[in-house]
Structures are given as C-alpha cells and as structure tokens.
Amino acid sequence: MKETLWTLAALASHWRRRPGNLGMLLLGLAMATALWSGVQALNAQARNSYDAATAAVSGGGARTLGSSRSGLFDQDLFVKLRRAGFNVSPVLEGLVRIGEQNVRIIGVEPLSLPRRSPIARMRSRADLIEDFFSGPGRGFASPETLRRFNLAEGAQPLTNRGRQLPPLAALAEAPPGAIVVDIGVAQHLLDRHEKLSRLIMADDETLDEARLKSIAGDALRLVAANEESELDRLADSFHLNLTAFGFLAFLVGLFIVHAAYGLAFEQRLPTLRTLRALGVAPMHLVAAMAWEIAVLTLAAGGVGVIGGYALARALLPDVARSLESLYGAQISENLALDARWWFSGLAMAGAGAVLAAASGLLKTLRLPPLSVSRPIAWRAEHHSYLRRQTALAVLALVVAACAYGFGKGLASGFAVIGLTLLAAALFLPVGLAGALALGEHVARRPLARWFFADGRQEISGLSLALMALLIALAANIGVGGMVEGFRQTFGRWLDARLVAEIYFEAATPADAQDIETWARKQPEISAILPVFRAKTRIGGWPVDVFGMTSHETYTAHFPLLDAEPNVWTALHDQDAVLVSEQLARRLGLGVGAMIDVPTSHEDWRARVVGVFPDYGNPKGQLRIDHEKLKRYFDDASGIHYSLRAAPDATPRVIEDLQQRFDGKIARIVDQSELKALSTEVFERTFAVTTALNTLTLIVSGVALFASLLTLSEMRRARIAPVWALGATRSQLAGLEMIRVLAFAAGAAVLATPLGLFMTWCLVAIVNVAAFGWRLPFHMFPAQWLVVLLIALGAAFFAALVPLVRLARSAPTELLRVFSNER
C-alpha cells in the first residue's frame, strides 16, 4: 500500500507540472458526463411526469373502460354499471383554453374513486373535500401547475367559452398541467353534458365481460393499462432520440479523455520507466494509476453531473414544450432527480474513464523496465492496426445491413445509423492511410515524400480524434438535413393546409349557428366552411374525424400524398374517407382499401380515396364529408369554422366578429397567427436536437484539440531529425498545419455522404417509426460547405497552439531529442 501511495505521489506530480493536460482530461470527462447525464435527466423527468399523470387519477396500472366507438360515452352507462354492481368510477377529461393556454380538465367523482388513486387521498382531508362538490366546488391543481398558468389559489378563471372554474386550490397530488374538478363541473366546463371519457375499475374488480356486454352492449371496452399511455409510447421515440444524442456526445467526450490520458501517458513514460527501474512492480503502477483514475472520475464526474443538471435545467422548458405540443404530454418543470440518477452519472463517468484509459493501463502493465526506441517497428504495428480497423468496419457494416434488413422500427433505425457511423469512423484511418500512401508514391521531392510517409505514421495517433470529428460532422449534416428538410416540407404543407383566412371556434353550437347566419350576409366573407370534428378509435388508436365541405379551398389546395383521380367528388358522393399518413401506415391502408370507422351508432364502411400528410399530429385523422360527419357522429363538435375572406378585409371581419359576438366566440385567429403558432411548435421541437447537435460538435472540436496537443508532444522526436537535415521550423510548422487541415478536410468529405445517409435513415426509418410520417428527402449543399468550414476551422484552431509552439521552439529543445532518447 505504501508503495502504491508513493508511486501515486510520483505520478501525480505530473499534473502539477502540466495543468493544461489535467484540465483537458477533466474537461473531457466532465463534458461527456454532463451531456450524458443531462439527457438522462430530461428523460427521467419526462417519464416521472407521465407516470404522475397516468397514476394521479387512477392510481397507476388501473384498468379502465373506454368507449369503443367515439371518444365519449353516455353517463347513463356508468349508472347502469353501478346499478349492476360494477365498482367503477367516472372520469371526464378535456382541454379548455384559459387566456392563451390550454389547460387539461380532469373531472372525477371522489366518492367512487379507487382508494389507491392519489387524488382519492383528498377524501381523508376534510378541508379539501368539504367543498369539492358542494357550494361553488373546488379545482385542484399542483402548486407548480398554478405557477405555470399564473393562477393563484382561490382564483376562479374564466375559460375562453365564458365558463367559470371553481375556486382553485393547491394539491400536490394533482397531475402536472391539469386541474382536477368534480365530474359535474367538468361536464359544464367542457360542455359535455352527461358524457364521460372513461371508467376506472376498482383494484379488486374482476371484469365479467359477458355481463358488461349484456348491460352496455358493445359501447364500452376494456382499455389495457398500457394502451391508455399510447401517447407516452409515441413520446418514447422522442426520448430515444435524446438518448441517442446523449450517447453520441458521451462517446465524443470519451475521445477527449482518451487523447488527454494518452498525452499524459506519453509524457509520463520516462517517469514510469524510472519507477519500474527503481523496482516498482507493474501491478503497483497500475494500482496507483487506477487510484488516480478513481479520483479524477469523482472530481470530473461530479462536475459533469452538476453540469448535466444545469444542462437539463436549461433544456427542460424546450423539451417540456415540445412534448406538450407534440403529444399533449405535461412535463413538470421542477427538475427533481433521485440519488439513482446522480450515482448513474458518476458510474458512467467512471466507466468512460476506465475505457479511455484502458490502453494506457495495459501498456503500463507490459512496460519493460528498459527499452530502446524502435522507430521502424511502428510500420508492422501500423499495418496490423489498419487491417484490424478494416475488419471491424466491414463487420459493423454487415451488422448494419442486417439491422436494416431484419430489424423493425426505431431501434433498428438507430442501430443502422450508429453502426454505419462506426464503420465509417473505423474506415477513416484506412482511407487516409491509402490516400497518403498514394501521395507518397506520386511525390518526388524528398520533403514531400517525408510529408506523406510521416502523415501515415501520425494517423494512428490522430485517428481517434478524427473519428470523433467525423462522427460529429456526419451527425451535424444528417440531423441538419433532416431538420431543414422538415422545416421546408412543414412550411409548404402549412401553406397548403391553412388556406382559409380566418379560423374560429364558437362557444356553443347554437352560437355557431348565429355566427354562421350573420356571416352569410357579409359581402367580405366569400365562404363559410364548417370544420366540425368528432372522436373515434380505430385499431385501439385515438382518431379525430374532421368534416369537409365541398369547396375550392380544399379541392385546389389540400395537400394529398396519394389519391384517386376524382378524389373530391368521391369523398362527398360516396362512402369515402381521406386518411392521414400516420393512420394509413399504422393500419397498412392505401388508396382503394376499405376501412371500418366506428361511429356513434355502428361501424361505417368506407373506401380510402386519399392519403394526406399530417405532420406533427400524434393521433390519427380522418377527413370525411361534412354531412356524413353530422349524420354518423352525434357528438360532432359543431363549433369549428374556417372563413374565406379577401386578405385585406380579414382584420375588419375579425374585429366585426369579435365585437358582435363577444361571448359567443371562444377563439378566433387569422391565418398568419395560426401559421406562426404552428411554426413555433416546430421550432421548439427541434430546439433541443439542434442544441445537442451543436454541443456534440463543440465537444468533438475539443477532442481534436486535445489529440493534436498529445501528438505535438510525441512528434518532436520525429520532426527533430528532419529539422536537423535542414528544413526550417516554420516550414515544418506549415507542413504540419497542411497535414492537419487535410485530415480534417478528409473527415469532412467523408462525413458528407455519411451525413446524407444519416438524413435518409432519419426521414425514412426513424421518423416513420417514431411519428408515423415520412418526409421527402432533401439535400442542402450549403450546409455541407458550412460543415466543411467548421471542420477546417476546428482543425486550424486546434493545430494552432502546438504549431506556434513548434515554430517558436528553441533549437536546443529539438536537439535534446537526440541527447535524451526516450
């Protein structure tokens, strides 16, 4: 032990002499840990919120009965089931708008709520329940929800339909983003008289399906515990995305650690030899180094985990808003992480450090006490290294091909991307070596020949950093291409979808009639297009059904991916539907296929006459003829309209409507506002992706810097002879710079097709699996140029410090190479 301690002290003295090296090592480890644990924190936070949301009402894992037809069912079914002895509790959920925010309303019946439901705990709090369903009632929201919506306890906000909420009260158990009210209050607020969304079954209830059928017919069906969280599963893809990025960043960070540790190893080689010569056993050396790594891990990992926490805090609002706008999932913005998260962050840092330092440790173990340098031996080693890299690259490609051929869904998509990136990274040194060998072959002048030959020797040292750079560049091109492609597609799609100038929602169907009557008389309004909607469920998936009238607004503009020739005539005259891309993919339907649509009465069999893109919608969507919607769906909304008006008359029409029908209009927006809202949702969705992408690129720049620093240290021994032969220091520094830039350019050039492949994987595999839609594949050469410049810039700045040092190094330092052979 004593020996280990003294060895440790001797080794540690290195860090005092080289604080820059220590800083780089700590920085790399801290960055890797921060990015990884930051992403994990975001995921953990979201998952906690989902669990809280599903568990808050039913107690988690509860079985529920839901409508097997449209979204809601009659309250009468609840009464019938209770009277038949079924121990069920009613729930009505829906959204109201308060000011500019959507607030989820959850109506519960406290007397029948299962005991394990967290909300049911209010039963034991007299002060809470006493007014819940007497007097003006109560609305329970978590303190955080109240803060977020800027609502005070006791406040009674008005919804945009003019309904007043009961006085609000804070209840920690309330699910994030929701206000829990009595079922009767919810029916009033949501204007769903005597309607329910689901029935929670008591814990011990065994469902007698035959009896259920005899009482409720086929109006109700058992909703499996996991089916209810359909949206969570969709959101899973989002989290997998984040995890993939976090892992990528972690790997890139490890390159830094590897480079920094490699540098330290290089620089400490004489010390190690001396220690060995003094009789320190290799095991003791390794033990001391392991201790050193443990201390570094604790320090850097600790900083990294704290950094991860900060990162998560910074990104959480964007993530929360993305998940909310994408999936309607409410994420608590109070970052609360348990000990497990902190520990796993440190463990990841430790594992990374050991992995990055492994080669150094192994070399130490094998280190002969006396050794002469064998400058020529590298050649044999180099060849076997290249062979190994090639073999691994081919293996990775084969596995990637298998994943593509046999795998399905998101995981396989990411596997294909990851393995291809790995294969390309592994192949990079091989390719560079080939190019340099070619150069050496072609070159005539001795200095040029040396340049190429020496470059080949340098590859193995730089390869890890170059691989990191390659991966980061490819990811940048890949993700950038996907995001930019999506942005363009989305923009065009919005333009086509949002043709009408004005969109409004009336407070009630009766109000809607009044407004419609008035609007027909207005000369500025050229068309009144009701867009009534209803809910149903197809293949266990929530589907919105929208009505469409026959109008040029749709026939000329409505974007379709695929359609029958006379799609619009067929839609209105026949039993025909348009299905969203997501729904079509999920059900495996194409144009011409038949679909059974559950309606309020019975299934309606219709032909699919067109498929339309519906980006960003987690639910399925059907578009049917307006009249058929009214006929088949009793609970069709009857309040949503689009208006066509001359663009310059639009502001006046909106003002007229608002003045005339103040309380009767729940919401009114013009086209540009709606587009701005949609675009904002889009930008938020990719804000996190872009942020992580940029961070990864920064980390890889640091990795390159760290590697070059290591190399410059090692390279002095190689440059000194060339200098001795007459090449000037600045000439040598210039050559060094050219080499580094060439390597970086090589990586950027290889990164471009790789990035394109990644874009393709993202739009064609990952997005389809994650969201259910496929984007057109776009290429953005301007982006590639930017990436190339970034790569060259990163390489330039990374090489600058060591080269300036070389150019300025005193001749004695170079001479020392010959006197002090290592």
């Binding site: 209770r82 002895g85 007397l111 007299a126 006493e130 007497s134 209050v185």
Partner: protein, 358 residues
C-alpha cells in the same frame, strides 16, 4: 314529554362520521343549527306512502333493516341493510351532478364464525342511489330494498332486500305481519329539551325469507326482520359520545326497543319502547330500565361489552344477552359494533345490538 329515545343511534352514527374525517363537514354538523333546512314540528301527521320516500327539505334520513335468521342447516345468521341520505346544503335535490345529497349504504351478514360487511357511497341526482315512495324502492348501486313484484299495495308490506359484496350476499323477502309503529308522539320524536327532534317510525313485524351466501356457500334462511325510518335536520347534542341500542323480538310476538346514551359529561340516559304483539306501544322511562354490561372483549383496539343484562321492571323482564358472533365489528367509516344477539332469562328471543363510540 321526556322522550329522548329517538335521539337515535342512526343520527349519532352520522355524527360519528365526522371523526372519521371523511365528508367531515357535511356529515358532521348534525348537532349544529341547520339554517335553510326544515325542522320537525309536533302534530304533523305522517302520511303513507309518501313518507316512505325521501324528505329533501330535511338534512338527513335513513332506511334501516336488520334481520335474525335461521338457516336450513339449523345455524343462526343475521343481516343488516342500511341506506343514509345526507344533504350537504339546503335544497340539495337538484338533479344531475348538481344534486347535493350524499348517499351511504352499509350491509353485513353474520354467522357464528363470520361477520362480513361492506359500505358504499354515492352521489344523488344521477340515478346511482335514491329512494322512491311509490312503489317503494331504496337503492344504492346494486343494493336494493324495494317493493316485491307480487305486491299489490303502495306501502312497505311486501319488500325484498338485496345486498352483497365479494364475500357475501343475501336476498330476502320481507312480509309485514303487523302494523307500522309510530315512535314518540305519533311519529314526532323529541331529541332534547332544547327542541331538537326527528320524525321516526318502525316496521318491527317483518317475516323474512330468502337466502344468504357466505364465501359462495348459499343457504336458505328464514326469520324476523325490523325496519326503522327516521329523518331530521339537527337531531343531536354535541356531548354524546356513543350508545348501546337493542331491538328485540320477544317470543310471543312483543317487540322491545331500548338504548343507553352515553354522554361525555352527564350520566347515561336510558330509553325504551315496549311494542305489544298487536303493535300498541308503551314508552319506557329511564327509571324502569336496567342495563348492565357483563363481559367486555378487545376488538379493533377497543373494549366493547358484548354480553348484557337487561331489565324492564314494569314488565318483569330480566334477561341476559349473548351475541351470535362477538366479533360483529363494522370496520366501516365510522366503525361500530352491530350484530345479531340471543337472550334468555325471564323472556327468550333474539334481536340486534348496536354499540358505538367505544
């Protein structure tokens, strides 16, 4: 009149709900003034069948059935069926979820070795629980006390009562063999010297027949049942801590109802009513009644007397009671002891004992 006997066990049962914390304010204010609610007035005649139904102007009321049964296997059983209505605020009956009546049901089935019970809560207004006078029907979920299909009259002469839970169920036909008995002054039952009162009547003459099943084992049973009806708005004083209540079927056809109110501060008050086989009532005063616990057992962390000596001096009655099952504990909200008993001594017979506040 000093009649305080109808400071009924049920009103106090509701009071006890306040200590359970659940629905505290709603149920707890029974001793409070009840502005906005109707108050019972002496001299108001009870009208049937109307008064079998609910009285929404009053804050609280209940429908209560107990039955002593013997099975085809020779064993004895008991069942209890109770429905409470409580208005959270005046004019509570509004229909839909706006209704402010809360309904509570308790049911139990007892044998010598088992005491199985369940409770239910429901909101009024949506059809999940309620009472209708004609034809008479009281229900909460799938528990019902209602006029039988073969009944021709509009009263409560021929009823059936159903309740059950996972482990037990019962279904009994109840057939009245005697008249309805008005308690107190023609149904006006004074609660205190300060004017608290309730309306109160009973039907103690039910013949019961049907089946009971415990843990899936079904048994034909027959015996006697007793039904109580009471409604009021502010029936209780604040210092009452519990009571011991007896409803006894004497062999020979007479019925005896008596109880002891235990007060925090004052000495216990004893009350009673002797109902002869024809339904004629005689009120019993405290001096006439002797009640003495003979044996106490530990149950649910409480000491509960389960054997009693009962004396009615004017009637020469001196009996000792024995529970069918000493562990007839209702672990409901609130918790109390209620179960079938047998007695012997100067008279023999059976009945129900309820003890609260232990």
């Amino acid at each position: 009149m000093k009649d305080r006997r109808s400071i009924s066990r049920r009103s106090a049962l509701l009071l006890a709900l306040s200590s359970s914390g659940a629905l505290a304010k709603g149920f707890g204010g029974l001793a409070d003034k009840a502005p906005g609610f109707a108050v019972p007035q002496p001299g108001t005649p009870l009208v049937f069948p109307k008064d079998h139904g609910p009285h929404p102007n009053f804050r609280t009321e209940w429908w209560y059935v107990t039955a002593n049964l013997s099975g085809a296997d020779g064993a004895s059983y008991g069942v209890q069926w109770t429905l409470f209505r409580h208005a959270l605020e005046p004019n509570a009956t509004r229909g839909g979820w706006n209704d402010r009546n809360v309904w509570m049901g308790h049911a139990a089935a007892t044998s010598t070795s088992e005491h199985l019970f369940a409770q239910k809560f429901a909101r009024g207004g949506i059809g999940q629980a309620g009472v209708e006078a004609t034809p008479f029907r009281a229900f909460i979920d799938d528990w019902v006390l209602e006029t039988r299909d073969d009944s021709t009259g509009a009263g409560i002469e021929r009823l059936r009562v159903l309740a059950g839970d996972r482990d037990f169920a019962y279904a009994l036909d109840l057939t009245a063999t005697g008249p309805i008995v008005l308690q107190g002054e023609s149904g006006y039952s004074r609660k205190s010297e300060t004017g608290q009162a309730s309306y109160y009547f009973s039907q103690p003459f039910f013949k019961a027949e049907g089946s009971i099943s415990l843990h899936g084992r079904k048994m034909q049973v027959s015996g006697r049942a007793w039904m109580d009806r009471e409604w009021s708005s502010q029936p209780l004083g604040p210092d009452q801590k519990g009571w011991d209540w007896f409803a006894l079927h004497l062999d020979g056809g007479a019925k005896l109802m008596l109880y002891r109110m235990r007060s925090v501060e004052a000495a216990p008050h004893l009350f009673g009513n002797w109902i002869d086989a024809g339904g004629a009532t005689s009120l019993l005063t405290g001096e006439d009644i002797g009640l003495e616990p003979l044996e106490t057992i530990r149950i649910a962390d409480r000491d509960v007397p389960i054997r009693w000596r009962v004396q009615i001096k004017s009637r020469g009655l001196d009996i000792k009671t024995q529970p069918l099952n000493p562990r007839s504990w209702m672990g409901t909200d609130p918790a109390y002891w209620e179960g079938p008993i047998r007695f012997s001594g100067s008279h023999i017979g059976e009945g129900y004992l309820e003890m609260t506040g232990y």
